[in-house]
Amino acid sequence: MVYGISIILIGIGIYGLMTQKNLFKHIVSLSIIDTAVNIFIVATGYVSNGKAPIYTRALPGFSPNSFVDPLPQALVLTAIVIGVGTLALGASLLVRVKEKHSSINVENMKGVGE
């Protein structure tokens, strides 16, 4: 179910990358794909009726399949923060592109060879 949602979002992101001519839309599409892939990875670790992987006073013990898989969550946790770093790097490159070529639309850029 959640698999389907994330796969459709990946498809929409690919569609945006292929059709849009504005470079800012490309960054937005890449960010959509980022979110969708994160949802997909977390969904691979979901156990139905499982609890969040934190030991508390109400949930003190361990038995198999009583918790969801913590490993994909640990991977996604760092991947989200890396995502904002790379997104900000792409946005800052876009500022320089706008200064140099006076547009961020692929078809209106000045000084780009055919």
Binding site: Y3, Y55, Q73, S92
Partner: protein, 255 residues
């Protein structure tokens, strides 16, 4: 024509991914005893055989109380934290390095001397409420990464909350400029401290990033050995790094 082509390619990709889904277990039907994560959850990576837990044999730590006891490999109550900072801490060191590289790249591309202004006077409510909210936001960020081994959260979201506080300062004051020297030195010293923790573990325990401090009781604040200290360094590092990104994105060159 271009849109039709793009729709066809995207639909083909979606179909291919749906076919690929057949090789995965169904949503929610995952059996954790086949995965390595069961060891992380039981806080015993080296010795226990997973197959015996399912059959109900009496073997540590199956069906045993973990919260409030001591004597496990990793004493943090939040298992995600114990994977991020203890079992797979080397991966986290690499990812922090990637974040550092992207922050350096932003400074390289957008470096400037003058602060960009928004060209308007900040709202009165924004200016006054910043003074009240800012200490609370910073305190909340510090709370998140100090309690990373007990509650959801940790160094990465805590650092992001601190960066959001710096962003609030930039929005509410047209003249404010963050002190980049402080931010850079904090970031560098915290990154070095992470490696120093790893080397101390190598010296005392024989493995890089070994958990060398005494573990307490699962669920208490002073527990989990080196895990809260490492998460504090990660929190301060991520916070200063993202604050630096927020500051650099407001800089512009002369003229």
């Amino acid at each position: 024509m271009r849109r039709l082509y793009a729709i066809l390619v995207a639909a083909g990709l979606i179909y291919m991914l749906f076919v690929f889904l057949g090789t995965l277990p169904l949503y929610g039907k995952v059996d954790l005893s086949n995965r390595v994560s069961a060891h992380f959850l039981a806080k015993d990576v080296n010795s226990v055989d997973v197959k015996k837990w399912v059959e109900g044999d009496k073997q540590v730590p199956s069906r045993e109380k973990i919260y409030g006891r001591k004597g496990f490999e990793d004493e943090s109550a939040n298992v995600v934290t114990s994977i991020v900072v203890n079992y797979r801490s080397f991966d986290t060191l690499g990812e922090v390095t990637v974040l550092f590289a992207s922050a350096v790249g932003i400074g390289l591309v957008l470096g400037g001397m003058k602060r960009m202004g928004y060209g308007r006077k900040p709202n009165f409510i924004l200016r006054v409420s910043t003074g009240i909210l800012l200490p609370l936001i910073i305190m909340f960020g510090i709370y998140i990464f100090v309690h990373g081994h007990l509650t959801p959260g940790g160094g990465f979201p805590g650092g992001t909350v601190i960066a959001a506080a710096v962003l609030l300062l930039y929005l509410s004051n047209e003249e404010f400029v963050a002190n980049m020297k402080t931010s850079k030195s904090l970031e560098g010293s915290m990154g070095s401290l992470y490696v120093i923790f790893g080397l101390a573990g190598l010296a005392t325990g024989g493995a890089f990033l070994f958990n060398f401090l005494p573990n307490g009781v699962v669920g208490s604040l002073f527990s989990a050995g080196v895990v809260p200290l490492v998460y504090m360094t990660i929190g301060l590092k991520v916070g200063s790094e993202l604050s630096g990104v927020v500051a650099e994105i407001h800089e512009e060159r002369e003229g």
